[in-house]
Amino acid sequence: MSGVRLLVGTRKGAFILTSDGSRKKWKVEGPHFAGWEIYHLKGSPADPDRLYASQSSSWFGQVLQRSNDGGKNWEAVGNQFQYEGTPGPHQWYDGSPHPWEFKRVWHLEPSLDDPDRVYAGVEDAALFETTDGGKSWTELPGLRNYPTASTWAPGAGGLCLHTIVLDPKNHGRMYIAISAAGVFRSDDRGRTWVQRNLGLHSNHIPDPDAETGHCVHRIAMHPSRPNTLFMQKHWDVMRTDDCADNWREISGNLPTDFGFVIDVNANEPDTIYVIPITSDSHHFVPEGKLRVYRSKTGGDDWEALTNGLPQENCFVNVLRDAMDVDTLDPSGVYFGTSGGQVYASPDGGDTWNAVVHDLPAVLSVEVQTLK
């Protein structure tokens, strides 16, 4: 029987939530790695029982964990992330040059076909790769050595490479996003890159239409249509239909176009989800109402989804890696909040239930659809 497994990273550990295909009753296990920040966990598409977790702490630094049995047992693997060569500076908050320093792994993206190959997006922004199941990590330095890199500046959360999207139809192609530099595309598995930010407009940088400096929060792709990407930018929801060569705004009738998450329904490539957040100064949902917005037209026209979500006195945030969709029919949608709730919709967003109410603040949610 089919089922789903949610991998939830929080400020104080990881939790694994499982359910059968009905997605009504849930078993909650955890915390794993109690007391540590778990920025991200993700399973290998090639071997769903192979999981990777980014475990970090201001005290003890970065640890990488691997499980070979779906999260029952874990082992610490390699945690040395050494920039290749002598890293030059990027721009600091005050505009001065600041040396590249490794702080943590924000995002892990296992290869689509090899459980031992994983890409890691890190702060300060760079892309690393393991081909031995996490024992050793090697930087793909073409990104950090990109000609504009010395002008990249951190957002409030740091200069982080937080999104990695792999093209399932063109195995050499991948996209990454950096706050606050923008989107980059590689056609050779991360060796060389081009920045792809044409059409983005950001009023918080000196030249709003500059090719570098945009605070992209998240990008998402439907695997059947890899030339189309959706983006939640610091402000603005955007779309491209030509592999990120050109972007156009699709914020439409959203109550605010600030937010972090964006995702695509697994069965409907034009059905997308965002969770609007009041503003970059508030970082909580508007009007005390937790509302997921769904567009069934690929953007511009949005409807609020509220059935089962709190509609008064709610002031939570939903961070960029904290939403995912399963591949059942109808597709399930999941997200976690800064208040420690994980919500699940088994019907594409029409109705919602809180799977758990009181976890530590949620940093990431990934779902695995188990056959």
Binding site: R11, G35, S58, W59, F60, V63, Q82
Partner: protein
């Protein structure tokens, strides 16, 4: 044997109890103790000091015999009481205050 006391988070990570015994060859120094500790428990690599420079992580402290040895040279001899195993070498995470 030198007695090393680990903070709770590192005990869990290494799969050990509060006290770990390590044997060092030659003089008992911070470097020798940490080298031996990491060799016996590779999961601790990088969690107390930098992989390459061996510099202490900023929020890790080293105490022994009621003294703060955190900023002592890596190759300075540890107190005789530590070297002989009478007193433990304490590894601590700095207090969090209101943070986290």
């Amino acid at each position: 044997m030198i007695q090393v006391v680990l903070p709770r988070n590192l005990q869990i990570l290494a799969g050990v109890g509060r006290v770990v015994e390590v044997q060092v060859d030659g003089p008992a120094t911070q470097r020798a103790v940490l080298d031996a500790l990491e060799a016996g428990h590779p999961a601790l690599l990088g969690t107390m000091r930098d992989h390459v420079t061996k510099k202490r992580r900023p929020m890790i402290r080293f105490f022994a015999c009621e003294e703060d040895l955190s900023d002592e040279p890596l190759d300075a001899p540890l107190p005789e009481e530590v070297a002989s195993g009478k007193e433990p070498f304490l590894i601590l995470g700095a207090i969090a205050g209101g943070q986290a």
